[in-house]
């Protein structure tokens, strides 16, 4: 019913809109991938620091436990 009321776009306009949409979607996707790359790189640095802290804390706790015996 809607199709009878709303006139459809001419084929060339529809094609141009689709092309623009496709390029915009690909651009957004590329931006997302780049942002994800930098976010992962930053998280890796902080995750390594966290891991080193945890290992050091575990070592200190182990040493303290051995010392108390």
């Amino acid at each position: 019913m809607l199709a009878a009321v709303v006139p459809s776009k001419p084929a060339d306009v529809a094609r141009r809109d689709r092309d623009i949409g496709g390029v915009a979607a690909f651009g957004l996707f590329a931006a997302f991938v780049v942002a994800m790359f930098f976010a992962i790189r930053r998280l890796k640095k902080r995750a390594l620091e966290d891991r080193a802290d945890r290992e050091l804390r575990d070592e200190i706790e182990d040493a303290a436990r051995k010392g108390s015996r």
Partner: protein, 206 residues
């Protein structure tokens, strides 16, 4: 840090050797999602292998479908988790979802040779096999998602609403996005026509 081993440990039923900090979990989630996108891209190449241009276009369009459907569903699932339960953390849902996406995409990657073989050799069986691998990967993903949430400490009945909501919204958005996006295979399947195609085929079955 062997992140990949950590990631495989996280999606397996094995217990984690040591609890991870929030940053470590987010890092593993990021790696899992990046690996999932890479796996999906390779599956896309296999699904479009019948025709050269489809294979190249799928390198971007299949990961794009995964990203957009995730962006459409994950925030809603996180909000549902926050509203329905006091125990679960939204970061747990993020990690579990990334791990599940990775597990599903890995399933697709391992089935990609079969998809490529059928796409090359049969015009009607190729798309059917491709859709079946996606359904299998989705089921595998849901299974891993629930198990990971249990492993990360989310309690049983409280996660039902967010998990069901997330899975339904992701499936619904994926089905409709595949109709909007450029075709992945040379022939469009019922799912490739979105909700209209599914409704028509349901009426035909009736």
């Amino acid at each position: 840090m062997n992140t990949f081993a950590q990631l495989v440990d996280l999606i397996s039923p094995r217990k984690q050797p040591s609890p991870m900090s929030r940053t470590e979990r987010l890092y593993v989630a990021g790696i899992a999602f990046a690996c999932a996108l890479a796996c999906a891209a390779i599956w896309g190449v296999a699904a479009g292998s019948g025709s050269g241009s489809f294979a190249i276009r799928n390198l971007a369009s299949v990961p794009m479908l995964v990203v957009v459907s995730t962006l459409a569903s994950l925030p809603l699932g996180m909000l549902a988790l926050r509203l329905t339960t006091a125990e679960g953390r939204p970061s747990d849902l993020l990690v579990a979802h990334s791990g599940a996406t990775f597990a599903g995409a890995l399933t697709m990657l391992l089935l990609a040779p079969l998809v490529a073989l059928y796409q090359f050799s049969s015009a009607w069986a190729g798309p059917v096999v491709a859709v079946l691998t996606v359904i299998l990967a989705f089921i595998c993903g849901i299974f891993v998602f629930v198990r990971m949430l249990h492993k990360l400490g989310a309690v049983g009945s409280a996660i039902v609403v967010p998990v069901v909501l997330l899975a339904v919204v992701q499936l619904a958005s994926l089905a409709q996005l595949s109709a909007l996006a450029p075709p992945i295979m040379p022939t469009r399947t019922t799912f490739g026509h979105g909700i209209d195609g599914i409704a028509v085929s349901t009426e035909a079955v009736k």
